[in-house]
């Protein structure tokens, strides 16, 4: 891990397994909602995406992740835990680039809070993505101004 919220390369099965293995100890939670963001082999004109290269402002990712978690916990009083792991570096099509896990006392807030967490990440995480195509050309994606 680059820091608590960033991992170099894809979010691997080992990382996911390690996070899921913690759930058993959360005996005050009745529901866990998980989101996996995956690199999609999009077609841009005639070029197909083979990978995305993510770059991140690591120290600001930590600041923004903590703001998101605090906001989610204050808006959803039933939420017990929010876990965010985003990729930095190259992630191939079909691999996971974002992992979000929200645990709550009950399923409704777990699911709603997970969805809102993903929305907040997309708007405020200082992460940039460069689509790398099968012909080895690339294009920067630009989505949100903070």
């Amino acid at each position: 891990m680059v820091n608590d919220f960033l991992t170099e390369g894809p979010v691997t099965r080992d990382i996911i397994s390690a996070e899921l293995s913690k759930l058993g100890s959360m005996t005050d939670s009745g529901g866990h909602s998980v989101f996996f963001g995956q690199v999609r082999a999009d077609l841009s004109g005639v070029r197909r995406v083979k990978a995305i290269e993510y770059s991140a402002y690591g120290s600001m990712v930590v600041v923004e992740a903590e703001k998101i978690i605090n906001k989610i916990r204050s808006e959803f009083e039933d939420v017990r835990e929010v876990r965010i792991i985003h990729s930095a570096g190259i992630v191939m099509a079909g691999e996971i680039s974002l992992f979000v896990l929200v645990s709550a006392g009950h399923r409704q807030q777990a699911m709603e809070a997970c969805s809102k967490t993903v929305d907040l990440i997309k708007k405020s995480f200082p992460v940039w993505k460069k689509e790398i195509f099968e012909d080895n050309t690339h294009e920067w994606k630009q989505d949100y101004f903070a």
């Binding site: 770059s55 402002y57 600001m60 600041v63 997309k122 992460v127 940039w128 630009q142 989505d143 101004f145």
Partner: protein, 77 residues
């Protein structure tokens, strides 16, 4: 003032550097002029500024040792 400037995303690519130290900086306006002079390519791109990991919505007052990030639109998630 001594200021560290960081470039991210497409700006890191067009400037061909991730960072540059500036010395003798008087103000943010002064810094911006010097950065644009060193890297005229960035004038073609939209970007926001963060000072020490906080987005600035207006021109910041800088202090010695600040870290200024030039950030294009985010694309995380």
């Amino acid at each position: 003032m001594n200021i560290l400037v960081l470039f991210f995303g497409v700006l890191a690519e067009v400037t061909m550097t991730g960072s540059k130290h500036y010395t003798g900086v008087g103000s943010f306006g002064d810094l911006r002029l010097r950065v644009e002079d060193d890297f005229p390519e960035i004038a073609h791109y939209n970007y926001r500024i963060a000072v020490n990991n906080e987005i600035m919505n207006e021109e910041p007052v800088l202090k010695d040792g600040d870290e200024i990030a030039f950030m294009p639109p985010f694309a995380g998630g």
